[in-house]
């Protein structure tokens, strides 16, 4: 640590007084509004009463919340799904790495060789070289031991293994299938309010558990965007198709057109269950794409002193990681 000002250690705040005033104003307004709200003694609104009474006879489901999500407010859920899809597409777009060029002819390697021959010292500041080396180290995954068990005890420095210890790995190998099964069960039998949404979150949790404990290499083969993106699009397509089929067969968007099974079976709820399963596919793959897009964001290093010239840039050499 040097004597340079650390911008985040002692973070200066801005506009404290206007911020306080505005927050206090919002608080006062909200307080007035909240004090006038019913405090649990109002009758159930008509729409909620309708959802409660309609769930069993018309949808054969014991979950009125799911009935509202996929039945009464099905069109809203449709819109919400495509909002999520738009967000996932946005995250994918922003986090997209530099596209590899087709037809690589190796001029980068040739250029590096020539650079080394003519002027080996050139190549940006020390900070930039350090950053590039760090990135190269990250890209060359697997340089460290595959598991911390294989590393000698008492090694100084950062642990470089991808996976966690054998205890964590064994626990996750046991737990992950159970968790995945529980998530699917919740969706399939319609016992979770919201169906596919919590189920998709559970699926993301399982994927993240496996990723964190076993390392990226174990999830890489089936976590490629080329695999997951078509699955997500298929989910979105299924949701749209279910809605349109309801319009065709039953006269309104996402109305039920499937025969209803008995209560508390996998077929109870009719089109609601199909909607929920499509939502599970859409939400789980969408969340996985967004999270792994964020995790895998490549560095966008720009040589110092090139490009923008402005006061907004911090002077070279003031990077925080001055080890």
């Amino acid at each position: 640590m040097s004597g340079r000002p650390e911008p985040f250690e002692d973070e200066p705040r801005r506009r404290v007084v206007p911020g306080l005033l505005l927050s206090a104003g919002v608080a006062a307004t909200l307080l007035v509004a909240v004090l006038a709200l019913p405090r649990g003694d109002n009758p159930l609104p008509a729409i909620a009463r309708r959802a409660m009474t309609v769930a069993l006879p018309e949808w054969r489901t014991t979950e009125p919340v799911s009935e509202v999500v996929y039945g009464t407010r099905g069109f809203d859920t449709f819109g919400e799904t495509f909002l999520l899809l738009a967000a996932v597409v946005g995250v994918g777009l922003i986090t997209r790495a530099r596209e590899p060029r087709r037809g690589f002819i190796g001029e980068q390697e040739a250029g590096r060789r020539e650079q080394h021959r003519t002027d080996p010292a050139e190549g940006g500041s020390a900070d930039q070289r350090q950053a590039q080396q760090a990135e190269a180290g990250e890209e060359g995954r697997g340089q460290g031991a595959p598991s911390p068990d294989d590393e000698p005890v008492g090694e100084p420095g950062v642990e470089r293994a991808e996976a966690m210890t054998v205890v964590v790995r064994a626990a996750v190998r046991t737990v992950a299938p159970l968790l995945a099964m529980a998530g699917l069960y919740l969706v399939a039998w319609g016992y979770s309010p919201g169906g596919g949404f919590p189920g998709g979150a559970v699926a993301l949790g399982v994927v993240l558990l496996v990723y964190v404990s076993l390392g990226y290499r174990r999830v890489e083969p089936w976590l490629r965007p080329g695999v997951i993106e078509p699955v997500e699009m298929a989910g979105a397509l299924a949701i749209g198709l279910i809605g349109v089929l309801g319009l065709v067969f039953s006269g309104s968007f996402s109305a039920n057109f499937l025969p209803l099974g008995p209560v508390q079976t996998i077929r109870s709820g009719g089109v609601m269950q199909a909607f929920s399963v499509a939502e599970l596919i859409e939400v789980s793959t969408g969340l996985v794409l967004a999270v792994f897009g964020l995790l895998g964001m490549g560095h966008d290093w720009e040589p110092e002193g090139q490009g923008r010239q402005g006061q907004g840039r911090r002077p070279p050499g003031s990077r925080r990681d001055s080890r």
């Binding site: 649990g40 159930l44 909620a48 069993l56």
Partner: protein, 122 residues
């Protein structure tokens, strides 16, 4: 009783607004937004509460009631719980996009300080 929930939601929301307005670290601004989102979840679920009610689930109703009677009985509002689910999904989507933008800003400007990101200042 439920007034406490309302007040907690208002407090959380205002803490979030204060964070967004006064912090300069972009990650903390995103955290403030998340706090505001979380306050709406609490608020919607509190609004769904009704005195002495049970959960809006028709499976195994309490006290030997039949599901049909429970459907007409005293339950929490399922529509507002549905709103909360919607809010959670939208909150996740918004937070994800914000975080992606923040990471790109951090890479591009090498700072998370919002005051130093001023290339688009007119």
């Amino acid at each position: 009783m439920i007034l406490g929930n309302y007040l907690a939601a208002v407090t959380l929301f205002c803490l979030g607004i204060y964070t967004v307005l006064t912090r300069r670290n972009l990650l903390k601004i995103v955290m403030g937004m998340s706090l505001m989102e979380a306050s709406t979840y609490l608020f919607l679920l509190s609004l769904a509460y009704r005195n002495g009610s049970t959960a809006p689930v028709l499976l195994t109703p309490p006290h030997g009631q039949t599901p049909q009677r429970l459907a007409h009985g005293n339950v929490a509002d399922p529509v507002l719980q549905n709103f909360c689910l919607t809010a959670i999904v939208i909150g996740v989507a918004v937070t994800g996009v914000f975080l992606a933008v923040v990471v790109r800003i951090a890479q591009h400007y090498r700072t998370l300080d919002a005051d130093r990101v001023r290339d688009m200042r007119g």
